[in-house]
Symmetry: C2
Subunit: 344 residues, 2 copies
């Protein structure tokens, strides 16, 4: 490894002063040009920045850290999957959105993948005690979430992706799941489907309840009956979903399926195939999704779509505003999904 | 935001000295207990660490950074997808593996998601010039990769996931793609399939060539002919793959499909369905994968499996060893996949 990486002292550091000297301008001019260009001509700003880059100027964030007592870093605990599970591609997109929001600020983000079943509370508490960050983002929020309780207690600024039962007083970004299910169901009804099954996970999650309400609301609006035999709650295990869907098709004769997400949609398709009642192409499907999986599947799919990058951007934006002093309860965003149709 | 986050100076910092005083032991004992416990009894190590935690001791990495000239940080540029593409869940798993390797060291990782088509060279060059990290991990390596050229030139330690044409002299972690394709093809042959199609991307990628060779090798070993009509190279666009597979089924009558990964497998299934020659369950499928998607799909699938977490662990391990002084050309790992069978 060359010296410059293990011993920066062998090179004389480039300072605001040395840049000023080289260009024959004042240190203030250099500082302002590198900061925001306030009261400096565009030409000078360009020249200073180019020179700083050529000389390899390294902005000393340590000074900023000492002056403000801030770490200039945020922590994002993002959902991962057990090593050989299908995986959670959304986290990378969320991280890309966070990066996009932080670009041009002095903040960096440290992303910590969270494997399901692993308790992150010790790591979170350690990060808070060691003051490793100025703020925290967490996702896969539960209605009763001890991470949220801990963070609220600690005074560390934080934003959740999803609401909790106590979300009235903390910052969050969430999707309008009631609206997503309502629009998706109405879209399937408009396509002529009449016996729409709804398939999802644990009804103790708020978003699962919201989906069911949006679905029932759309049925009522179209004067279709709600048949409890068409509402299926099943653990997110492919074999269980597949078997339960197959039974559902045999017993309740649905013509369409409103699935929670792709991890429900794919085994639902397998279950429908197993039941063998009608060709796959005759059925309608719907899911909440961030991507174009439906195009790959080549089935009739309505997707309630949201942008994972935009979710990340919003999470980081809410957090920066909170670090900047805004009140958490004023930092709550609920975003609408938009419908996309595939193979229709 | 409470004061302790914006002004740490209002609290007296907990030092090695104050911990030593509280416990009535020497500063050396405290330092060793917190570092590696060398020559200290297990009981004392436990006591010191508990006390340090109770007092809220913050290890001052700034001193370490100044002393060594290191940032104690590594950068990982990890593949993401365009915002609404299916996504790359592997990156989160790789990041989890990197975290697992760094746990217990003083290193942290900063993950930068790389959207396809976005040139990361400026950001990479900036990170090198600004000495933002002691080492870099990059993935989705190309045979001719200007990021690799830049990093080699800069002297910054780096490790690639995948080999380049110049990989003789840099550190890398890669999978044995020849072996994966050989084993997968042989497995399909053992199951009775005789007309196995191979579907993949751009043959200018080394791993695509390696797969084709492994496939041909297995055919030869089983005295099966190589039929060029069964080898399909098509861009990773679901519509293109679906249409090309449908044509392939009509024209070349394959009975099994060796797909590059899930982004090829899923539209291949759609194409086979479109062709409508035989029920889906009659076909065999194979892919290289990190996950259990095949279980969700409920088809006859042989998967050449590797652990994305293990890949991340290895990448971080190779990088730390290089930062520690090991020669890059001694830091080259090629890992074998293992076969998993689904619904067989």
């Amino acid at each position: 490894m060359p010296d410059r990486f293990i011993d920066p002292a062998v090179q004389r550091p480039v300072t605001l002063k040395s840049i000023a000297k080289q260009l024959g301008v004042s240190v203030t001019t250099v500082a302002r040009s590198l900061k925001d260009g306030h009261k400096i001509s565009a030409e000078t700003v360009r020249l200073v920045r180019e020179t700083a880059e050529d000389l390899g100027y390294v902005r000393n964030l340590d000074g900023l850290r000492l002056r403000t007592g801030r770490t200039m870093s945020i922590l994002a605990f993002l959902g991962a999957s057990a090593d050989d599970e299908i995986g959670d591609a959304d986290s990378v997109g969320i991280l890309a959105g966070i990066h996009r929001r932080l670009a041009g600020t002095d903040y960096t983000v440290r992303a910590v993948p969270v494997i399901p079943g692993v308790d992150i509370l010790p790591e979170l508490a350690n990060a808070v005690r060691m003051r490793q960050a100025d703020g925290v983002i967490i996702d896969h929020t539960r209605p009763q979430d001890e991470r949220v309780d801990y963070l609220r207690e600690s005074g560390m600024p934080f934003v959740t992706f999803g609401r909790t039962d106590t979300s009235t007083d903390h910052a969050f970004f969430d999707l309008d799941n009631h609206d997503a299910a309502f629009k998706s169901t109405r879209s399937l009804i408009d396509l002529g489907y009449k016996r729409i099954a709804i398939i999802g996970s644990d009804p103790s999650f708020r978003f699962v309840q919201d989906r069911l309400e949006g679905y029932r609301h759309a049925l009522t609006a179209a004067r279709l009956p709600f048949d409890p035999a068409l509402a299926l709650n099943v653990e997110r295990q492919p074999r269980l979903i597949r078997a339960a869907t197959s039974r559902l098709v045999a017993e309740a004769r649905p013509d369409a399926f409103l699935c929670e997400n792709e991890l429900y949609l794919i085994p639902t398709i397998a279950g429908v195939r197993d039941a063998g009642a009608k060709p796959l192409d005759d059925y309608g499907f719907s899911l909440r999704s961030t991507n174009n999986l439906a195009e790959y599947l080549a089935l009739r799919v309505t997707s309630a779509h949201y942008s994972r990058e935009s979710a990340g951007w919003n999470l980081a934006d809410l957090l920066l505003r909170q670090i900047g002093g805004a009140a958490p309860k004023c930092l709550q965003t609920i975003a609408k999904t938009d419908l996309r149709h595939f193979n229709l």
